[in-house]
Symmetry: C2
Subunit: 418 residues, 2 copies
């Protein structure tokens, strides 16, 4: 049974930092979905010695090795030749591929060079993996140890087409009879990664029950994967996670807060207006990066100066003078002001000190007030965020959107920081 | 002499395809710039056996191994423990790090769990690599074979800060004597990576003259590195690059457009107001992510609906009706309107169709007008951007900021799309 895979990404551009390798993540995700474990991803440049090293180690660790890159016609494209040498197999010209290359060139009015015929050479005994969107087909060979080596184009759209049309159906066929892999994703609010890990200690982790975390501030994602344990076992574990951290889960899918908020606004047919100070437009950007947001998003007034808070939102000079721009009163006046001015159902405001300058002993950097106004009244909350300017902006946007989510779900508006 | 490096990227999220590993390309680019050769990048999951494999192979191939990930406080964070076992060194608690963790938690009013103390454990004899922006410091150890192993946080912004502040200066010090390494960075506007490569063909690339590209849309960065060639040779090559692509260079440093624009506004003592439609607040976010931007940034009116374009910016209903929201006339009225309302020196506006819906044969997705108003008059430009919603938003923000830069540098306001 094919259990373990290794992915090889090759090309000088990958090891000089010129290009971020997205192919290996794409392939890993698809293989994982078919129940394979990816043991490693190896990236090497266009060097014979390094390619041989990668082939040797890949086939040692994996039952299946999928490589990309180096199938082109130029001298730095070494893949086929090195694979042939590694397996001790001669290269043979595939007449079908050669003919289709000739036709491809003729149809474009281009002359075919001897170099190009290189792309019709394959190790003896290899099966051809067609390339529906490019000139270089790939190949699949089975080694003496019954391990499988598949090589694909390194151009992402060609690789994706070859994988989808030929490779994945073949892998699925080989994996028939293996146990099922079940997985789900939880999006988390209000916990650090370490606190989350602590709270999940009662979950019995093993080779067959995996928890993985991904912290990409302000996002925290938890994934549960159960290998060959069956639906019932999987459902029990997911239920136990909900018991342990339920109030912190804001989605059971890979959905962002702005997508959730957008969906809820659409469902309720409510419109939203924002008044942003320290977030500088970032909440508006998050809301509007969601396609279709024009249906519920009216405006964001990014009022960085006191003057613009008064002019665009009608915040009273006396409020600003008496309580300051970073205060419960100003946050409320901003939310109410933008709601009124934009004639929106909900007004959401943020005002705070993102730093590095501007903090005081009373209101240190990271002090942020968020306000929310709707027909039934308004309220404000105080946040004390840690970190640099960027973290304060990201954290404030997350807190504001999360509060909006709970209100849209029917939660009370009630500040926890009077 | 340190010549070859191997990069290890670790974490289950990397081999299940959940996350594209950008760390290794970032590190490879920086090491390449210091004259090192990256022999391979190895990615493995959070598994003891695989980590040991990666350490063994990395240290076999490289004089320097830089690893990322697995320094967190949760049970799947195995790095320090496995490195200690691999090197046969006990783990010791670093009191300084432990104390700063305690202070970090206390300052946030959070409870510190026993788990968190794990982050203060290091293999005996290791030097600590400070983490200026996160809780987990890294470490550096030298093996019996005089090879070096450095481990950093897997969180990109933490990794970048640790690399820049501690690792790269140390590597440069070790590489002293390899001949001087001279390098410079050019930030590029208005070219694709392949077009840039084409235009730079006359530059004689070799082992000692290196050009590296980094495309992270909408940013394109070019780096020239000359190894042991001397100041004169370096200056000649840099001058040749300026000859070939001069008008496309907007900075000769790793400076962002928003930083440059901020600096120029400060110098001129001018203030800026934005009127954003399809960019949804993203330009305001870029401007305000720069510390100190409150000195020149007044407001951004994110007017997504026609109604809010009229209400907040005074765009005439007749203008919107006759020419549409995405038109030269509306872009001009938005820029002039926000400049007037906010009493700013410069008004900058963007209105366009980010997609995926909303395009017409006349105005397909990617059609964007940008407008700029100042005391001497105003003008607008038409962009036709390719790609999905995100690319249109990013590309429009880049074009608007780039135009603002040229105006601040004394360029004419003159539209090229009447």
């Amino acid at each position: 049974m094919m259990e373990k895979a290794v992915i090889l990404s090759t090309g000088d551009e990958l090891i000089t930092g010129r290009v971020v390798d997205t192919n290996s993540a794409y392939i890993a995700d698809k293989l994982y979905g078919l129940g394979l474990e990816v043991a490693a991803v190896l990236k090497v440049g266009d060097s014979r010695e390094r390619l041989l090293w990668a082939l040797r180690n890949g086939l040692e660790m994996g039952d299946l090795v999928i490589g990309t890159g180096g199938l082109g016609p130029t001298t730095d494209d070494l893949t086929t030749e090195v694979v042939g040498a590694f397996l001790g197999r001669e290269l043979r010209l595939d007449e079908g591929v050669a003919e289709s290359l000739r036709r491809r060139f003729a149809s474009r009015g281009l002359e075919m060079t001897a170099n190009n015929l290189k792309q019709a050479l394959f190790p003896q005994g290899a099966d051809i993996v067609p390339n529906p969107v490019g000139s270089a087909p790939g190949f699949r060979v089975t080694t003496g140890e019954r391990k499988h080596l598949i090589w694909l184009s390194g151009v992402p759209r060609e690789m994706e087409a070859m994988l989808k049309e030929s490779v994945l159906p073949w892998v699925a066929e080989q994996r028939k009879g293996a146990g099922e892999i079940l997985g789900c994703t939880f999006k988390i609010y209000g916990l650090t990664e370490s606190k989350l890990g602590d709270m999940l200690k009662p979950i019995p982790i093993s080779d067959r029950v995996r928890l993985s975390y991904r912290a990409h501030y302000p996002d925290l994602t938890l994934r549960l994967v159960v290998l060959g344990g069956g639906e019932k076992r999987f459902a029990e574990l997911a239920a136990r996670i909900r018991e342990l951290i339920g109030p912190h889960i804001y989605a059971e899918a890979d959905e962002s807060l702005e997508e959730i908020v957008g969906r809820l606004l659409l469902e309720k047919r409510w419109t939203l207006a924002l008044a942003e100070s320290c977030t500088g437009g970032y909440i508006g950007h998050r809301i509007t990066r969601v396609p279709g947001s024009s249906a519920y998003f009216k405006t964001s007034a990014v009022t960085y100066s006191n003057e613009s808070k008064s002019r665009f939102l009608g915040v009273q000079g006396a409020t600003l003078k008496q309580h300051g721009a970073v205060s419960r009163e100003t946050a409320l006046a901003m939310a109410e002001g933008v709601r009124r001015q934009a004639e929106a159902d909900i007004g959401l405001s943020v005002t705070g000190i993102a730093g590095p300058a501007g903090g005081t002993p009373d209101k240190p950097v990271g002090t942020v007030w968020i306000g929310l106004a709707r027909d039934r009244g308004s309220d404000a909350r105080l946040l004390r965020l840690a970190g640099d300017r960027e973290r304060v902006i990201l954290g404030a946007s997350q807190a504001a959107l999360h509060w909006l989510r709970t209100v849209l779900l029917g939660g009370q508006i009630s500040g926890d920081g009077k």
